[in-house]
C-alpha cells in the first residue's frame, strides 16, 4: 500500500484502469462466453433436429420407392394371372431374372388369394419378415386390406418391407393375393442415406446385444442399452444427447417393425464443427478487442493525464524555481481554467500575499533593528554617564570644598589641600581610564594575527596570576589536551586579555578561595579549539546572563562593565564564540571556541 502511494498519478490511473479492465472485462467476457455457448447449443440442437428429420425422410422415401415398386408389380395383370395360375417359366424370366437385378430387391414373395406362398425369391426363412407364426396373421390381414410398408428385423439386419394387394391394372375384379418386396438395409443403403443427408448415422439392430459405446471415431456419451432403456422409459421415440465437451451431438430413436415390435435404433450423429469454430473465433476476437481497448484507453489516459499533469508540472517547476532562486516574484503560468488552473491562480495569489508579508516582515525587522540600535546606543550612553558620573561627582565635591575653604577661611590647610588634590588626581585618572576603555570598546579593534599555540598562551597567562591566586587560596587545575592544533589566526596579546578577563572574573567570584580549572579540547568536525574555564565561585544570577556581554554591565563597584564586552568583540573578531553556563552557588563555566584554521576578517 505504501508503495502504491509512491506511484505517480499517471501510474495510479493506469493501474486502476488495468485492474478495472481485467475485472469488468473478465466478467463481460465470461457472460458473453456463457451466452454464446447457450446460443450455439440452440443452433446445434436446431440443426440436429433438422438433420434427424431429413434422415427420417430419407428412410421414408426409400420405403415409398420400395412400396411403389411393389405396387407396380402387384397391379401388373401378368402377376394377377400368375396368382391365379402359377407358371414357373414365366416367373423365372419375368420376376426372378429381372426384378431383383433392376430394383435391387432382396426378397420377393407372392401369395395367392388364400394366402398360400406361391412364389419366393430370396431366403424366406432368413428374412422372417413378420412371417413367424405369431405375426403372420397380422401381416396377412394388413396385406389383405391395403398396401403396407415398414421395417423388419432379419437375421442379416434390418430391412425395408413393402407389400400390396394383387389387383388388375385397371383395378377391375377382386384382390387376387399379396405381392411383397423386402430390401436389406445393408452398408450400401446406409451409404446412400448418408450421402443423401450428409449425416453420420447408423441403424442399430438387435438392441439386446449392442452394448458398445464406440462407433468408429465417435465416443458415444452412453452405452446403447442405457439409451434404449431411457427412450423406452420416457415413452419417447426420440432421444437427444448433446454435451458441450463432446465433439459430436447425438440423436436416437427406436425403430419398430410393422408389428410394432422394437427392432433397433436409429442413431444420427452430427459433428459439432461450428461450436469450436465460433468459440475459437470468439476467443481470438476477444483477445484482439481486449488489446485494442487497453491500448486505446492507455493512449487516452496518457493524453488526459498529460492535460492534467502539465499544469501541475508547471506548478512543480515554479515551486522548485522559487526554492532554488528564492525569488518569490516568479509566477506559475497555467492557462487551464479547471480545478488545477484555479489551484495555480490561488498559488500565485498566495505568492502575492507571501511577497507582501515578506516585505512587511523586512520592514518590521528593519524598524526593529533600528530601534535596537537606538536602545543599544542609549544604553551605552547611559552606562557612560553612570560610570563617569561618580568620579566627576567626587572631583566636583573636592573642588567645591576647596573653593569654600578659600571663600570662608581665605586659606586652605595643607593636609586638606594635599588630601583633596590626591583624590582629585585619582578620580580624574579613573575617568580617563573609563573613557579609554570605552574608546577601546567602541573603536574598531585592530588585530595582529599569527599562528598561536593556545596551550602555551594559557600557561603564560596562568604564570602571570599564579602568585596572586596562591595568596588568595585559589587552586588552578590545568587539563590541557596534548597535540592541540594551532590556531592559525590569533592575536596573541588580545586573546591573552580575554583569558585574563575571564580569570579575573573567576577570581572575584571566589573571594574565600576555590578552584579554577582550565582545559582545552579540539572539535575535529567543526575544526574548533575549545578553551574551557570552570570556577566553583558564587555563580551568575539568571537575570544577569543575557546582559553579561553588554557594555557597562557590572555588579562590582570598581568594575567598569566593559571587560567582557571587549572580550566578546575580540573573540568575535577571531570568528569564535564565547559561551557561558552558570549555576548560583555552584560556579560558572566560560567556553571560548576558536576556529583552528579559518582566516577571519582583518577588522571587526
Amino acid at each position: 500500500m505504501r508503495r502504491f502511494r509512491a506511484f505517480s498519478i499517471r501510474t495510479k490511473f493506469i493501474l486502476a484502469f488495468i485492474i478495472n479492465s481485467i475485472f469488468i472485462g473478465s466478467i463481460i467476457l465470461i457472460l458473453m462466453y456463457i451466452m454464446l455457448n447457450k446460443g450455439l447449443d440452440r443452433i446445434e440442437n436446431y440443426y440436429l433436429e433438422n438433420e434427424y428429420h431429413s434422415v427420417q425422410s430419407a428412410i421414408n422415401n426409400e420405403l415409398d420407392i420400395l412400396l411403389r415398386n411393389a405396387k407396380d408389380g402387384a397391379y401388373w395383370d401378368d402377376i394377377y394371372n400368375y396368382a391365379t395360375a402359377p407358371n414357373d417359366a414365366w416367373a423365372k424370366s419375368n420376376v426372378t431374372d429381372w426384378i431383383p437385378k433392376n430394383f435391387g430387391i432382396d426378397l420377393i414373395l407372392i401369395f395367392d388369394v388364400k394366402d398360400n406362398l406361391i412364389y419366393q425369391y430370396g431366403n424366406f426363412e432368413e428374412f422372417q419378415i413378420g412371417m413367424d407364426s405369431s405375426s403372420r396373421p397380422l401381416i396377412k390381414s394388413a396385406v389383405k386390406s391395403k398396401e403396407i410398408r415398414g421395417l423388419s428385423s432379419t437375421s442379416k439386419g434390418l430391412a425395408y418391407v413393402a407389400g400390396s394387394p394383387i389387383m388388375r391394372t385397371d383395378e377391375s375384379g377382386p384382390r387376387n393375393g399379396t405381392y411383397l418386396y423386402a430390401k436389406l438395409i445393408n452398408k450400401a443403403r446406409l451409404e446412400k442415406i448418408k450421402n443423401l443427408t450428409g449425416m453420420d448415422l447408423s441403424i442399430i439392430n438387435k438392441i439386446e446385444v449392442v452394448n458398445s459405446t464406440a462407433v468408429g471415431y465417435i465416443d458415444r456419451p452412453k452405452s446403447l442399452n442405457d439409451i434404449y432403456n431411457n427412450l423406452k422409459d420416457k415413452q419417447s421415440h426420440k432421444f437427444n444427447i448433446y454435451k458441450p465437451n463432446y465433439q459430436s451431438a447425438f440423436v436416437y430413436s427406436i425403430l419398430k417393425d410393422i408389428d410394432g415390435k422394437d427392432i433397433g435404433m436409429l442413431e444420427v450423429i452430427r459433428p459439432r464443427k461450428t461450436i469450436p469454430l465460433v468459440r475459437d473465433f470468439f476467443i481470438q476476437s476477444s483477445i484482439w478487442i481486449f488489446i485494442f481497448v487497453i491500448l486505446a484507453t492507455l493512449l487516452t489516459i496518457l493524453a488526459i493525464t498529460g492535460f492534467i499533469l502539465k499544469p501541475i508540472g508547471v506548478l512543480k517547476k515554479t515551486i522548485g524555481e522559487i526554492q532554488r532562486t528564492k525569488n518569490t516574484l516568479t509566477r506559475a503560468v497555467v492557462n487551464s481554467e479547471d480545478e488545477i488552473g484555479i489551484l495555480a491562480k490561488e498559488f500565485n495569489n498566495m505568492l502575492d500575499t507571501l511577497n507582501k508579508s515578506q516585505n512587511d516582515l523586512i520592514e518590521t525587522q528593519n524598524n526593529l533593528i533600528k530601534a535596537e540600535r537606538m536602545s543599544a546606543l542609549a544604553e551605552l550612553a547611559m552606562g557612560t554617564v553612570h560610570q563617569i558620573n561618580n568620579p566627576l561627582s567626587i572631583v566636583m565635591g573636592r573642588v567645591q570644598m576647596l573653593q569654600r575653604l578659600l571663600i570662608y577661611k581665605a586659606s586652605i590647610p595643607m593636609p586638606d589641600l594635599d588630601r583633596d588634590l590626591k583624590v582629585i588626581e585619582e578620580q580624574t585618572q579613573r575617568a580617563v581610564q573609563i573613557t579609554n576603555s570605552l574608546l577601546r570598546y567602541a573603536a574598531p579593534i585592530t588585530f595582529r594575527f599569527e599562528r598561536c599555540a593556545i596551550n602555551k598562551l594559557l600557561k603564560d597567562t596562568i604564570g602571570l596570576i599564579k602568585k596572586q591566586f596562591e595568596e588568595e587560596n585559589i587552586n588552578i587545575a590545568e587539563n590541557l589536551k596534548t597535540n592541540l592544533p594551532y590556531v592559525e589566526y590569533c592575536d596573541h596579546r588580545q586573546m591573552q586579555d580575554v583569558f585574563m578577563n575571564i580569570i579575573t572574573n573567576a577570581r572575584q567570584a571566589m573571594p574565600g578561595g576555590g578552584k579554577l580549572e582550565i582545559s582545552t579540547d579540539y572539535d575535529e568536525k567543526e575544526d574548533m579549539v575549545y578553551i574551557k574555564l570552570t570556577d566553583n565561585g558564587c555563580g551568575i544570577p539568571g537575570e544577569h546572563m543575557d546582559k553579561l556581554f553588554t557594555p557597562f554591565f557590572s555588579t562590582r563597584a570598581d568594575g567598569n562593565g566593559l571587560g567582557l564586552a571587549i572580550s566578546y568583540n575580540i573573540v568575535k573578531g577571531h570568528r569564535g564564540k564565547i559561551e557561558v553556563e552558570s549555576k548560583l552557588g555552584v560556579g560558572s563555566v566560560f567556553i571560548v571556541k576558536l576556529p583552528a584554521g579559518q582566516k577571519p576578517g582583518e577588522k571587526v
Binding site: 547611559m382 554617564v385 553612570h386 558620573n389 561618580n390 566627576l392 561627582s393 567626587i394 566636583m396 565635591g397 573636592r398 567645591q400 570644598m401 569654600r404 588630601r419 583633596d420 583624590v423 585619582e426 578620580q427 557590572s554 555588579t555 562590582r556 563597584a557
Partner: protein
C-alpha cells in the same frame, strides 16, 4: 546631628564626611544597603543620604526598609541627572528630598539645615 551616608563608592562617602564632619555633625559611612540598615538600627541617625544605584540592594529597597524601621528618619536620595523619575517615586515612598550628582554643597548644607530645623 547624626547622619548616615550610603554609597557603594567610598570616595563619595568621604566627601560627605569631609564636608559635614568639620561642621560638628556625626557622619557614619556605609558602602552597601545591607550595611546601611545595620547601621541605622545600631546608630539611629537623623538624616540619611542614600544612593539609588547600588549593586545587590538598591536605594529604593533600602528606603522602604528604613521607613519600616523608623518613619521619622529623613532620607535624601542621591541620584544621577537622568534618573530623576526614580527619585520622584522615592519621594512618594517617603523620602524627604533628592539630590543629583554631581553634588551641590550649597544644597547639601541647606538640606541638612532644614532637617535640623524640623528636628527641633
Amino acid at each position: 546631628m547624626k547622619m548616615l551616608v550610603v554609597d557603594d563608592e567610598i570616595e563619595i562617602c568621604n566627601i560627605f564626611y569631609d564636608f559635614f564632619a568639620p561642621k560638628g555633625h556625626e557622619v557614619i559611612k556605609a558602602t552597601s544597603g545591607k550595611a546601611a540598615l545595620e547601621k541605622i538600627k545600631a546608630e539611629k541617625p537623623n538624616l540619611v543620604f542614600l544612593d539609588i544605584r547600588m549593586p545587590e540592594m538598591d536605594g529604593i529597597e533600602v528606603l522602604k526598609q528604613i521607613k519600616q524601621i523608623d518613619n521619622a528618619i529623613a532620607v535624601i536620595m542621591v541620584t544621577v541627572l537622568n534618573d530623576e523619575e526614580t527619585a520622584k517615586n522615592a519621594i512618594k515612598l517617603g523620602a524627604y528630598d533628592y539630590v543629583t550628582k554631581p553634588l551641590s554643597f550649597d544644597y547639601l548644607e541647606k538640606a541638612a539645615l532644614l532637617v535640623d530645623l524640623n528636628l527641633k
